[in-house]
């Protein structure tokens, strides 16, 4: 394990990048995911269609393909971001499809009476969704979204393939220098496990706080 200690700063730098990637893309994914979920239940057919196409295309493309396409394709439509930003965008868009589906299934757990009551007191679609349905729906999907966050954390490792130096890429570089793959990759694995364990703990905590007992 002293290989890891000798290259401690490389590992912590990589870990920082991984955490940043995770946090930023999760924030983006949550936002986009909720919007897409709302689109998929909206009264406007075109929006529902766009939402469906979005979910279908992003859930069915490997993230690795998306990353490569975004890194090299976006500049060809005249949009160029730094590698890190591009990776954040690609991961956020990809995971948003999963979040959208989770939120939609959360909407499904809300009893019909809630929506009927909202409409009865004169709330429109946007209002009832925002004020009545979503707050309840989101509480029901804390666990699934936590699981998506865990998957997202692990998926950030793919950014290493497009030049982002995250924990995985850092480990790979250290291994190139030291040729001690087992301690190096096990060390990195422990890093990911720590992050995921933390996410799991937080998820349980939040769920216990906000869950609605029906």
């Amino acid at each position: 394990m002293d290989v890891v200690l000798r290259h401690w700063s490389a590992f912590t730098d990589g870990m920082t990048t991984t955490l940043e990637l995770t946090a930023l893309s999760f924030a983006g994914a949550l936002l986009i995911g909720i919007v897409v979920a709302a689109m998929r239940v909206s009264p406007v057919p075109v929006l529902r269609g766009v939402g469906t196409v979005y979910v279908e295309s992003f859930q069915n493309t490997p993230l690795l393909v998306l990353l490569v396409l975004f890194v090299f394709g976006l500049p060809e439509v005249g949009v160029i971001f730094p590698l890190f930003t591009t990776a954040v965008i690609a991961i956020a868009l990809y995971e948003a499809a999963y979040i959208a589906e989770a939120v939609r299934s959360g909407i499904n757990t809300v009893p019909v009476g809630q929506a009927e009551a909202a409409r009865a007191i004169g709330l429109g679609f946007g209002q009832s969704l925002r004020l009545v349905i979503l707050p309840q729906a989101l509480r029901a999907v804390v666990q699934p979204i936590g699981n998506i966050l865990i998957a997202l954390t692990m998926n950030t490792s793919l950014a290493a393939a497009v030049g982002v130096v995250d924990l995985t890429a850092a480990a790979n570089r250290v291994n190139l220098l030291e040729a001690q793959p087992i301690p190096v990759f096990v060390g990195a694995g422990l890093g990911y496990m720590a992050v995921c364990a933390l996410v799991g703990l937080l998820t349980n905590l939040i769920e216990r706080k906000v869950a609605i007992v029906r």
Partner: protein, 311 residues
């Protein structure tokens, strides 16, 4: 379509006009964005006919189809192995014996939180140092199976737990042993119920075979990379590859939804907003499982008259 109407009233004249306006605005915005992107794309010369012509030739597709075959083979073998591993692990985790339970719990919890990519690196760079050098195919399939066995285990566990307790009790009551009850009564029902989730998870696995890119196993994505270094059409190649993946996976997902629609397991329960009443088992496992549509799309009109809100 009508099932999602719970969230909004049958539109009146004003609402209908609003929906029309929104439709037009959204359509124009989407079309505009696409047009802009395509235009920019063309300005960069990426739409030039000769950059796309190679993709109209048969040898090219013959090559890509070989990649598809390799992808499907890897995904199929990995699915088979992780299904088997998943059942064993799930039974282990549900076992009353601690010596079975603990190893299963540790395995599942560790593998759920370690990126597959790291496992791939260990098999790729680590094992050869210790004299273990797997064939290329297994360098990809082994880490995938090892990792997703944990996910399948959690799916199975959730399915087994979601089954009515009475089934198990009935089995035991007529004198079956615990093992017989599990294999003859519980598992068959759980598996049927889980079929859609299992297919969805296989889609996830099929996407993960794109890690062959790292291992240089000639699945679809790696074939794409070789193609790109050969014809130097990086962007076109990856667009084609992405489309092929979407077609394969969308058909698989559709298959999962068809399976689900056929099942008709709909125990009585509270009316739900989007019209699906099947209880969702708590699954600690994959987001693929949780997030993928476990139900027919909202447009489909399920046989659930109680959900139809009279307009």
């Amino acid at each position: 379509m009508s099932t999602s109407r719970v969230l909004f009233d049958e539109p009146g004249p004003i609402a209908r006009r609003r929906i029309r306006v929104a439709t037009v605005v959204v359509s124009i915005a989407v079309a505009g964005l696409i047009a802009l992107a395509v235009r920019r794309f063309a300005d960069h010369g990426q739409l030039d006919a000769d950059k796309w012509r190679p993709y109209t030739t048969w040898p090219m597709w013959r090559y890509l189809l070989q990649g598809v075959r390799a992808t499907v083979e890897a995904a199929a073998v990995a699915t088979g192995l992780s299904l088997a591993g998943g059942i064993v692990l799930a039974l282990g985790r549900l076992s009353p014996h601690r010596r079975f339970r603990w190893p299963a719990v540790v395995y599942i919890e560790v593998m759920r939180t370690v990126p597959v990519l790291l496992l791939v690196y260990i098999v790729l760079f680590g094992l050869p140092h210790y004299g273990v050098n797997l064939p290329l195919f297994w360098k990809l399939v082994a880490p995938l199976s090892v990792s997703s066995a944990a996910v399948f285990a959690e799916i199975f566990r959730a399915g087994i737990l979601s089954l009515d307790r009475g089934q198990r009790e009935a089995g035991l009551a007529i004198g079956m042993t615990r093992r017989q009850t599990m294999w003859i009564v519980v598992l068959p029902q759980a598996v049927r119920r889980l079929l859609p989730s299992l297919v969805s998870q296989s889609v996830g696995l099929l996407k993960d075979t794109s890690l062959g890119f790292i291992v240089s196993y000639s699945e679809l994505l790696y074939s794409g990379r070789i193609l790109a270094t050969y014809n130097r059409l990086l962007i076109q190649t990856y667009i084609v590859i992405a489309l092929v993946y979407i077609v394969i996976n969308a058909s698989l997902s559709k298959f999962a939804r068809t399976l689900e629609a056929r099942q008709g397991v709909r125990p009585a329960g509270r009316r739900r907003l989007l019209g699906f009443v099947r209880p969702r088992p708590y699954v600690a496992g994959s987001p693929h499982l949780r997030a993928r549509p476990e139900h027919p799309a909202p447009q489909s009109e399920g046989p659930e008259p109680q959900n139809k809100i009279p307009a």
